[in-house]
Amino acid sequence: MNILNVEKLNIEFLDHEGPEKVVKDVSFNLEEGGILGIVGESGSGKSMTALAIAGLLNRHDMRKSGKIEYKGRDLLTIPREELRSFQGDDISMIFQEPMTSFDPRLRIGFQVEEGLGVHRPEMTAEEKKAAALEAMTAVGLENQERVYMLYPHELSGGMRQRAMIAAAVITEPRILIADEPTTALDVTVQAQIIKLLRRINSEKGTAILFISHDMSLVKQLCKEVMVMKKGSVVERGSSEQVYLHPREDYTVSLMNAIPKKGVRYYRSEDIESDSEIARAEKLNVFVGNGRGRRCIVQDASFSIRQGEIMGLVGESGSGKTTLGKALLGINKDTEGTFDIHDPYPQMIFQDPYSSLNPARTIGWILEEPLRLRSRVDREVRRERVNEMLKTVGLSEDMYSRYPDQLSGGQRQRVSIASALMQTPKLVIADEPVSALDVTVQRQILELIRELKEKYSLTVLFISHDLRVVYSLCDSVMIMKDGVIVEQGDTDHVYEAPAHEYTKKLLAAVD
């Protein structure tokens, strides 16, 4: 029995220079109680499809055609009033950003039970509250009574996403649309949310449409998978079939893009174990001033050997970026000692959208270190920049482009080039691939490995992704709440984790 039929769905934007089709002839159906995963990179049209089903695409500057059939009605053409009777009742949605999907001025409890207020007007306030508390228990929120009275900013990301799910399932929907529900969350929390979705599906029989760019998450949860690329469905089938016998190259590249646990992709061969490039002893790092001054990193002691890639792993807020910035001298408020045997250590930033000056051309940005430090002629500068552009896999005509004319992957290449322009020995890469699409991630990691060998760099690789770290790093430090809880050889730490937290992290990735 199919609960939802989508037939030849087309969505076209009309406000761009030419009409732009973002969803092309997409057809699929969702079984009663089934879980369908939609996988694709940004721009593949997966979120647009989801929004269309949820009835949230009502802009005037777009054209929709095809059919979205639910209970014998076409959701694309039914009147708004009738659509609203489904929205939040039979069909619910969970969004990617738990930060922005709640109204910051309203209490969690009110927002969780709001769906009941709209769709079950006969319920009394007490009944609604009881239902809200029950839903919050069901999604694993502890201290429901207290959380009920809190405001969104008082909850952590994971708690907020749970509350969001509670709000979505409180009306016992028959279809739950989850649009990248775990992307903004830490790994340990991700695993819990996936488990929760699976439980809701098996206990209540809610059909789930799970949208993600992460093939391994989809594999954990979904019985059926559909792969989308540039608005079209390129492959679909049962999970097993798609994973074991993918038919399309694109599916394969999506799967390979995410490093698998336990697959070693690179280990350095040129580590000089007796020479350190960086060393910290009992290093404390503070952020803020006056009464707001807080100790973010506590008692960090470590040494980085010349030529290695060291991973620094931790969840958001664990202080890994703060530590990295302290080593570079950007955060100056420190106690304890640290030594860097490189006059100009460099950083590759997480977000290539803010790390390149939007008002300057790529050429100008890359020439800046030469203007500042080596004082060479204009022609020499230009030549060296062109050389560097080639090294990081970009063409020379990037020279006169502005950052907003580049894709995320290209920007990250420029950012890497800019770090390398100053011939550093130590590079701190702060989540260099987290903001990028999965297939691009792979390319950037490959580039970092290549350049590391070419320039014999030492890299401190900051990441929240244990799989990436395992695939690339020689040694690893695990950080939790500002404290380095475990460090050592990557293979050793992954095989025999000593600290409870490390075990928990490793258990969270599949």
């Binding site: 910035k325 570079l328 950007i330 100009y344 250590p345 460099q346 950083m347 930033f349 997480q350 977000d351 803010s354 790390s355 390149l356 000056n357 939007p358 008002a359 300057r360 800046e368 270190p369 500042l372 430090r373 950012s415 800019s418 770090a419 322009m421 100053q422």
Partner: protein, 264 residues
Amino acid sequence: MKKLMKNKSFRAGLVITGVMVFLAIAGPFITPWDPEEMNRGLKFSGVSLSHIMGCDNFGRDIFSRVLYGLRTTMIVAVGTVFIGCAGGVIIGSLTGYFGGIFDTVVMRINDVLFAFPAVLIALVFVSLFGSSDVILIVALGVAFIPSFARMVRSEFLRNRSLDYVAAARLQGAGNFRIIFFHILPNAWPVLLQSVIIGFNNAVLAEAGMSFLGIGVQPPAASLGRMLSEAQSYIRVAPGYALFPGLVIILMVLGLGLMSRASYE
């Protein structure tokens, strides 16, 4: 810039402004009449071939006075915006970039200055130092600083914590270089708009000041002064008020069109 050129209202504004600038510069070569030469016989003579805008109460050619007045007004406006913009950029970028107590103190002074209308501040200046073109420019310029400073400061606040600033520091750029070569270019688009709007305000402020009699001193011509003199003769010689007013309108319109286009 290319995109701007495609915009119709920007092109229209550019043409109008271009004509105005041309008239202001080439004025002396266009009109055969001395703007200050009086001729009793021609008093309030109407529009004619030799005096295309007629003559005023002293028999001076209105057309040449408008051209010279336009020039005065433009010089005052450019000077005013230059002082306001330069001062605003320096104050705004330093306070926005460094923050802290320095920012608090300077911006509170700025707020106080902002609370007074530009014309009032200029009045104080004129009553302290007497009235001349230079003092008028300085007075209006100072009065324009706060609005520029605020705008530049907000751009710096937004930009200073972005990663590209940290990247520039790692590349070895000092504070001065980061402020003026890295962050400031990001403020240009907003700055350009406020320069245009500021220019308009300056034109109107100059006209207003001269209208009140504390701006440009007679017998020199300025558009505002001409309007102020013309009001007594509005029934006898409507052209005397009409033409300078029209030129002010055109000038403001041209720049207004350009600023609106760049905003879009």
